[in-house]
């Protein structure tokens, strides 16, 4: 067994052990620790798209929304089907959660293909606006979907004795007896950081392989990369799909921790927040982006008294960063290309 796989397994074992400590942690800090993990997954997955492949997605929250809603909806609407597994205790719950995570990831990855393929012809600012548009469309669609609570948000599903299912009790069904299935709490320290470990393992291995050179080559110079036999289309789509997959996982983790999701949790500002993490850390820098995700999750908590300054600080971080150190805190310097005519 190779060294990196041993490190990975050791990390998983350590997470498992550490998880037993979680009840002794103050719930406020515990929540922050979970959000840090989710944000690391989000920022690292966006880094695959924006950092390593040099595209610019401004709609990462859209993928997260798909993961969150898929996972939450399946876990509640199909709750009776899962009852057998759930009654088996911790192992059964783990199996259910893995199924939900996979569904969330795959659904988001399919959306990633839908966004990625048309976006291939676009660069820079056009791509940014298009991805932003996709994310907005996803949000608007969720907002109009009554089955997941529309703009009211989603807590769980009512299953009526006559077999009907809904997110809210309709007026004409108020007399029919029902069972409410709330979004189950699955996410804990172990699961969150398991996926933090998975995505780090994924990126390290990918970027160290010859295969990974393809992404960087496409970022640096697409024409030269193609001339060396690199299929840039394939690499861009892979980046979009795997980035979306992990964003979907992050969404699922979020849904099964918060137990209530609202379309507004996944709006443009959430996408911007993830982008800021990637840019602050340095596009294409694994360590930098992880550190930035940690810092930017803690920062708003420290600024709690002056919450209205939070977005201003984000904005200034972006501007000052671009003016002084466009490669981010830990990134490799981007090549600047002079305006050519």
């Amino acid at each position: 067994m190779s060294k990196d796989k041993l490190i990975f397994l050791a990390a998983v074992a350590a997470l498992f052990a550490l998880n037993f400590l979680s009840p002794s942690i103050d719930p406020y800090y515990y929540t922050i620790i979970i959000y840090i993990g989710i944000n690391i997954i989000l920022a690292s997955s966006l880094n695959l798209i924006n950092g390593y492949t040099g595209q610019f997605s401004l709609g990462h929250a859209g993928f997260m929304a798909i993961g969150a809603y898929m996972s939450a909806a399946v876990s509640t609407y199909f709750a009776p089907s899962f009852e057998g597994l759930m009654s088996m205790g911790a192992v059964g719950e783990a199996i259910v959660f893995v199924i939900l995570l996979v569904i969330a990831g795959v659904a988001a990855a399919i959306a990633g293909i839908l966004v990625g393929v048309p976006s291939l012809r676009l660069r820079g600012d056009y791509l940014a606006i298009t991805t932003l548009g996709f994310a907005e469309i996803i949000r608007v669609i969720i907002q109009s979907l009554e089955v997941v609570g529309a703009s009211q948000g989603f807590r769980g599903a009512y299953i009526f004795n006559n077999g009907m299912k809904a997110a809210q009790i309709p007026a004409d069904m108020s007399e029919v007896p029902n069972t409410f299935f709330a979004v189950p709490k699955f996410t804990d320290f172990f699961w969150t950081y398991l996926f933090v470990a998975v995505i780090i393992f994924f990126i390290v291995n990918l970027m160290n392989s010859t295969y990974g050179r393809g992404f960087l080559a496409v970022k640096d110079d697409e024409v030269a990369a193609e001339s060396m036999g690199v299929n840039s289309t394939k690499f861009k789509v892979i980046a979009f799909v795997s980035g979306a997959f992990f964003a979907g996982i992050a969404g699922s983790l979020y849904a099964h921790f918060n137990l209530y999701i609202n379309p507004e949790d996944f709006n443009f500002l959430k996408s911007v927040e993830i982008v800021v993490m990637v840019i602050l850390g340095g596009m294409g820098s694994l360590v930098g982006v992880v550190i930035a995700a940690v810092l930017l999750t803690i920062l708003p908590e420290l600024l709690r008294g002056v919450a209205e300054y939070r977005m201003i600080i984000y904005a200034l971080l972006l501007i000052i960063m671009m003016l002084t150190r466009p490669q981010g805190l830990f990134g490799v310097k981007l090549r600047t290309r002079k305006n050519r005519t």
């Binding site: 401004l58 048309p118 676009l122 600012d125 469309i137 984000y314």
Partner: protein, 298 residues
Amino acid sequence: MSEFIQQLINGLSLGSIYALIALGYTMVYGILKFINFAHGEVFMLGAFFGYYLARAFGVAEPSITMALVILLLTMAGTAITGMIIEKLAYKPLRNSSKLTVLITAIGVSLFLQYTGQLIFGADPKSFPTIIENTSFNILGATIGTNQIVVLVSAVLLMYLLRLIVFKTKKGIAIRAVSNNMTAASLMGININNIISFTFAIGSSLAGAAGILYSINYPSIDPLMGLLPGLKAFIAAVLGGIGNFPGAVVGGVLIGLVETFTVGYLSPTYRDAIAFAILILILLVKPTGLFGKKDIEKV
């Protein structure tokens, strides 16, 4: 039928506002080849300048003269704001990668939105009536003085822009710079001046659009610029970015599609429809309706 005409009038008046904003996007894109993400916020500032000016003048009785003074002062104000933004945020990045400038523009946009919230307050404000509103009936549809004022001012401003761009020295310089910056600079054109001037013109149009928008939709707040900004950008892309008549046509089309979607489909899709158009146009004809193709030199 009257419903149709009503939507048509609403769409035209909304569309002409989008067109004014879209012109600013197109002008800046033509020269610097980047999307000035903060353009929607200049539009928002226009609305707020108008709001504070109207309050300062204490418009007890709406009058055309007063409205005109407010409009012109606001345009001057946003023009200066646009120039300052360019000087501070974009000028130092003249030789940076496009991505760097784009990110900066997003930063400027967020900065203006949230500083706006801090200064003006996050709650919506009611824009004062600066034009007396009376309604007329045309073929069963209601058209307000508001809408007439919006349409007339938009057309006048576009005509003015056309005069500036095609008849003045500065205008010729703008077109020269957007055609070939290096060559223009070799011909003795001061590039920085022209870029500054372009931002001033584009921003003044956005400021005017801010006022006209607020006359029709009098609830203003610091985040109001985001969506009209994006829609106007989509309008510019639809018309072919860098193309002036394209921006106008694109703006009017987006306005019409939006009002018809709201009227006949569902208000839920009001904002999504513009993005759907964007994705469609980029897939089918990325150069827009009137754009021309660039060949990448290898």
